[in-house]
């Protein structure tokens, strides 16, 4: 009924070109029922959200895995048994010399370690005595001495080098590429 009315109205109005667009709008308004679309959209969204939440729950149940460290995995080529090398045959004197050298080295390292442990203990004892004296002197300074230093960390130090840096060294042009393998779960 409403559509037939709109069509007749259109026929009447099509004489004037300017009214064609308004006629179309009228026609569409009477013909379409946009209420149905509005009901489906929020439902669809809710269903999608629930699905995503379920997926998320399933993924969260799986615990995260550590990135494998290459250092701790023996490469396959070293497990090949055909690559075995037999131990060299030593003469009696050579083996004796080696054993005595090992013992000498053991003794040397042991002395070194003992000296280090003693030095550490002496230092600890000296520190303890100094702190006791400080406590007797003034309580404030003693408390301040026990406090940790906030500016110390982060701390970085490079190892010593065999030779000092060469000031006149001309480095060739180039760049570093990080090709570490990125693992994803």
């Amino acid at each position: 009924m409403s559509s037939a009315l709109s069509r007749s109205l259109c026929r009447v109005l099509t004489r004037h070109r300017a009214t064609i667009s308004s006629c179309r709008a009228l026609f569409l308004r009477f013909r379409a029922e946009p209420k149905k679309k509005k009901k489906v959209d929020p439902r669809r969204e809710l269903v999608l959200r629930e699905r995503m939440k379920k997926k998320l729950k399933k993924l969260e149940k799986v615990p995260p895995e550590f990135i494998p460290v290459e250092d701790l995995i023996t490469p396959a080529k070293y497990l090949d048994e055909t690559r075995e090398r037999s131990a060299p045959r030593l003469s009696f004197e050579e083996s004796e010399r080696r054993a005595l050298l090992l013992k000498e080295w053991c003794r040397y390292k042991k002395n070194q370690h003992m000296a280090e442990v003693e030095a550490v203990e002496l230092a600890l004892e000296a520190q303890r005595e100094a702190l006791e004296e400080l406590k007797l002197e003034s309580e404030e300074l003693y408390q301040a001495a026990l406090k940790p230093d906030p500016l110390l960390f982060p701390f970085t130090h490079e190892g010593p080098a065999y030779t000092p840096a060469n000031t006149k060294y001309y480095a060739p042009d180039g760049k570093y590429n990080d090709i570490t393998k990125v693992y994803t779960q």
Binding site: D71, L152, H157, P160
Partner: protein, 202 residues
């Protein structure tokens, strides 16, 4: 046959008489349940499993729990991570082991001691003639971490002094505060999970 039966009857009569009279020391073969060695004072002398403290049954799905990060107090630093990195794996490993042993000796509590994934770097140099780059070398940087739960401020200078004195060449030492981000960087990335989270939050 008859005398045998008569003898049996006689034995039975004797036995019944024995049972009738209340005797304190009953023969062992009478009741099989009462085993005499269970009443001995040395019974259960070899038991040892009840001495070991009972551990709760381990769950199969063990989520890697992060050890609690302590904050700095008035007399001690918080959780620190001592990171040793270098190109020579033996030096790096031995140095990290040395630090771990030193902590045990000095009484510093070590929370964890682990290895971080190796970083591979490709060194590319410019060719002498032309503008092309060519691969010169592949360097691997190994990293080991000794995580300390807390460090006393009085032990700190001594510890740092000993550690620095024994630092081998080519090995870089870095001491930082341990954070949760450091812990999570050890795990594999999960782009699907993150994508889903972003979509849900939008």
């Amino acid at each position: 046959m008859n005398p045998v039966f008569r003898k049996l009857q006689a034995v039975n009569q004797v036995l019944t008489l024995c049972r009738a009279t209340p005797c304190i020391q009953r023969p062992v073969w009478d009741s099989v349940d009462k085993r005499q060695y269970k009443s001995m004072p040395t019974h259960g002398i070899g038991r040892w499993r009840h001495f070991i403290p009972r551990e709760p049954p381990k769950k199969k799905k063990d989520k890697h729990q992060m050890k609690p990060i302590l904050a700095a107090t008035d007399t001690a630093y918080g959780s620190l991570s001592v990171r040793v990195s270098g190109h020579d794996m033996t030096l790096v490993e031995h140095y990290s082991q040395y630090i771990h042993n030193l902590c045990n000796r000095l009484g510093i509590k070590v929370a964890e001691s682990y290895a971080l994934p190796t970083k591979t770097t490709e060194v590319m140099l410019m060719q002498e003639q032309g503008t092309k780059m060519f691969v010169e070398a592949v360097l691997k940087t190994h990293q080991r971490v000794v995580q300390l739960s807390s460090l006393d401020a009085t032990l700190c200078p001594l510890f740092m002094g000993v550690v620095l004195k024994n630092q081998p060449e080519g090995v870089r030492l870095s001491v930082k505060e341990h954070t949760e981000a450091d812990f999570h960087s050890r795990f594999k990335g999960r782009p699907e999970l993150e994508g889903l989270m972003a979509q849900i939050n939008q």
